[in-house]
């Protein structure tokens, strides 16, 4: 077995066998699925306590408009706001007070809701929805045109703009800008995270070898460059292992959860959506809702997942190699981990810039910012991942990958030179100028 393989093997096995790695690898998907399920679950349970809302209606017109439901109970009171406020000193009498001072069709600002706490969105939309609908009907009725209500209801349309993209073989694919955005942002963020986490691991690994004083023992048997590359490649494999484990585990858990609860979720969630629709201003028919779901599925099919996955691995490796070698160079130049901060700052900046550039690129994936940032090697791994689901021309991908490869060969070569000198330097405060000198040895 050649020496660099031995180093890769050691870096890989010691890290993969670590308790923290195993815990993180297995717990993260559980946590993610758990968090999503928790949000879904918490959203689905209703507050079973009926909340009392007192209505002080000076017009007396809205008694039949405000209907109580399972969450809210409207009670009308013949008192002033101040009297009611006094009654509710302990805050237990009612949660909110709705005060209607004038005819709302004349003055649309005449309804006010008072509460000890911030009134929640659900209550606010529920009340205003009911009032709006009623006033609208009132106004329509005032025109005295027969069957106007039915005509309006018929004329009510809901345009759903479908986006279909022409693929090169002339087929039409349904595309979804929202889905592309989500996929792009997630992959870009994962790359960002991996570069930062595993780049930092390379750096601290190098610093540890240096402070442990083991480095000189090892470079008497292998070349410094082999030691550096062995470490970088070993940690890259750790990162890929973790990523694929996450994908597999998350996929597995989601599949398990969804098959186990498939029926319950489908029925109840659709019912809930229908209820929500009826409560609001517009009602979405159930068949239209099913159509929406199919659309999402179609859009998912419209994305080229194989391409995204392949490019993810390429950009992950490229971006990681570019930054990891720089992190290794810094680790070699300092004496302890606290000193790494001042030097890692200039390296962290382009990564952080890249994530912002990625967010802005998502809004205009073919704009100049997106284009240039997906060519510059320090930002391309992140920005290009954002652009990919929006269909990037092949020549741009090829050019971007080409530049990235050349750049990481360059930075690795440079880092190797700094590393070679740095790991044997002890007790010297290193400056940028000094590192520049090592580069030219």
């Amino acid at each position: 077995m050649s020496k660099i393989n031995l180093i890769i093997k050691r870096e890989y096995t010691t890290r993969v066998m670590k308790k923290s790695f195993i815990l993180l690898t297995f717990l993260t998907p559980l946590l993610m699925v758990g968090m999503v399920s928790l949000i879904v679950y918490l959203g689905s349970i209703k507050d079973d306590k009926v909340k009392k809302i007192v209505v002080v209606d000076r017009t007396g017109m809205y008694k039949n408009v405000l209907k109580s439901n399972e969450s809210y109970n409207f009670q009308f009171a013949d008192a002033t706001v101040d009297e009611m406020k006094k009654q509710n000193d302990d805050g237990n009498e009612f949660v909110a007070l709705l005060y209607i001072s004038r005819d709302l069709s004349v003055d649309s600002t005449a309804a006010v809701m008072y509460s000890d706490k911030q009134v929640n969105m659900e209550l606010k939309t529920y009340v205003s929805g009911m009032l709006n609908k009623y006033i609208e009907e009132q106004k329509l009725a005032a025109y005295n045109i027969p069957n106007l209500k039915q005509m309006v209801e018929k004329s009510h349309t809901n345009i759903d703009l479908k986006t279909i993209k022409w693929s090169e073989d002339g087929k039409e694919k349904e595309a979804s800008a929202e889905l592309a955005l989500v996929i792009g942002m997630i992959t870009a963020f994962v790359i960002y995270m991996f570069i930062v986490i595993y780049g930092a691991q390379v750096m601290s690994g190098v610093v540890q070898e240096k402070t442990n004083r083991i480095v000189e023992v090892i470079i008497s048997s292998v070349k410094p460059f082999e030691l550096m590359m062995g470490k970088i490649i070993g940690i890259a494999l750790v990162g890929l292992t973790q990523f694929f484990m996450w994908v597999l585990l998350t996929g597995g858990i989601l599949l398990g959860v969804s098959t186990a609860f498939a029926k319950n979720i489908d029925v109840s969630s659709i019912q809930k959506m229908q209820q929500a629709g009826q409560m609001g201003m517009q009602s979405v028919p159930a068949d239209q809702l099913n159509g929406k779901m199919q659309e999402v599925l179609m859009a998912v099919n419209g994305l080229d997942f194989v391409q995204i996955l392949v490019m993810f691995v390429i950009y992950f490796l490229g971006g990681y190699l570019l930054y990891a070698s720089l992190f290794a160079a810094i680790g070699s130049a300092v004496d302890n981990e606290t000193d790494t901060q001042q030097f890692s700052m200039p390296i962290m900046l382009p990564i952080i810039f890249a994530i912002y550039a990625g967010i802005f690129s998502a809004e205009n994936p073919d704009g100049p910012l997106a284009f240039w940032c997906s060519m510059i090697p320090f930002t391309s791994p992140i920005v290009m991942m954002v652009r990919l689901p929006f269909d990037v021309p092949f020549w741009q991908i090829a050019l971007s990958v080409g530049i990235l490869v050349l750049s990481f060969v360059g930075t690795t070569w440079m880092a190797g030179k700094i590393y070679r000198t740095g790991i044997l330097m002890y007790g010297k405060k290193v400056t940028w100028k000094e590192m520049w000198k090592w580069l030219r040895y």
């Binding site: 031995l6 010691t14 442990n212 083991i214 000189e216 023992v217 002890y426």
Partner: protein, 300 residues
């Protein structure tokens, strides 16, 4: 000559670390590399190990110019040495041995032998952070010599060793030499130089200032002083009395002979005075020679 260093120069940014250094190490001997801190010893050792390259000059192993491949025949224990704290002793020793090019089986066999010899088999599954410094040093020593190198280079091997381990190390160095290895070590400890080394080079301010056989060097630095034990007090006659002591019935005198006298003429002079119980030439210790030689160089 197993190792020859010829006219090696190494320039760093601010100063010249080695300035025309040459030395020859005879096969199957112990060679001492002496010198004060910052003299250039570690740089020279790193050049021999191909860790850094000299600006000019060359290093020859067995008469051939050394290549990086030759390094695997060298066992090198650096001055700044450490181990991976979180790794188990056995795995770590095996890893280092494999990096030196040993096969897994050979390495395991050799490790078993040395772990038994040093009675540390029980440590195999322990992590380095659980060991004391002295224990870690034993492990480092083993990993240095495991692949049976013909040439061993120890940089300050005795620094940080407790006396028990230092004694063990000395014994092992001599044993390795008897088995045919050549050992070069750098040290400040002049006592061990007298005990172990046949030849030395003294490096000071990037240059070799003294080189040769230890016994020869000591003889050359003889100051013509003798320790003489007699019954009665000596009468100064044809020599110089440096000091005198009356101890348990004898007079012990340190005297300095005249330049033109030989040992025998001095003895003859003394014999006429009294009965001589002992006559011993005082050779300067390596420590004295070291300090004197280093201080001789004028400040630039």
């Amino acid at each position: 000559m197993i190792l020859e260093v010829e006219n090696v120069v190494k320039q760093f940014a601010g100063h010249r670390a080695l300035d025309g250094v040459s030395l020859q190490v005879p096969e199957n001997s112990v060679y001492g590399l002496l010198g004060p801190n910052g003299a250039g010893k570690t740089t020279l050792i790193r050049i021999i190990n191909c860790i850094t390259a000299p600006d000019s000059g060359e290093v020859r192993l067995n008469g051939r110019r050394m290549t990086p491949e030759d390094v695997s025949h060298i066992g090198y224990l650096p001055e700044e040495r450490g181990l991976y704290k979180k790794m188990k002793i056995g795995e770590q020793a095996l890893y280092l041995a494999q990096l030196k090019g040993m096969s897994k089986n050979d390495a395991l066999k050799a490790l078993k032998y040395w772990f038994e010899k040093f009675e540390i088999q029980a440590w195999w599954d322990k992590k380095v952070e659980e060991l004391s410094k002295g224990m870690a040093q034993k492990v480092q020593f083993i990993t240095t010599i495991l692949h049976n190198p013909k040439l061993l280079i120890f940089d300050e091997p005795f620094s940080g060793f407790d006396p028990v381990n230092a004694e063990l190390l000395k014994r092992e160095i001599l044993e390795l030499r008897d088995k045919g290895a050549t050992i070069i070590f750098s040290t400040h400890n002049m006592g061990t130089v007298e005990d172990l080394c046949e030849n030395i080079s003294l490096v000071n301010r990037s240059k070799v200032v003294l080189q040769g056989n230890v016994a020869q060097i000591r003889a050359n630095h003889a100051t013509d002083t003798y320790l003489i034990k007699t019954d009665v007090k000596l009468r100064v006659d044809g020599f110089e009395l440096v000091s005198e002591q009356h101890k348990s019935g004898f007079f012990e005198s340190t005297i300095k002979k005249q330049m033109q006298d030989t040992n025998n003429t001095l003895l003859q002079r003394l014999m006429t005075q009294t009965e001589i119980h002992s006559f011993q030439e005082i050779l300067p210790s390596m420590n004295d020679i070291f300090i004197r030689t280093v201080n001789e160089v004028p400040d630039l």
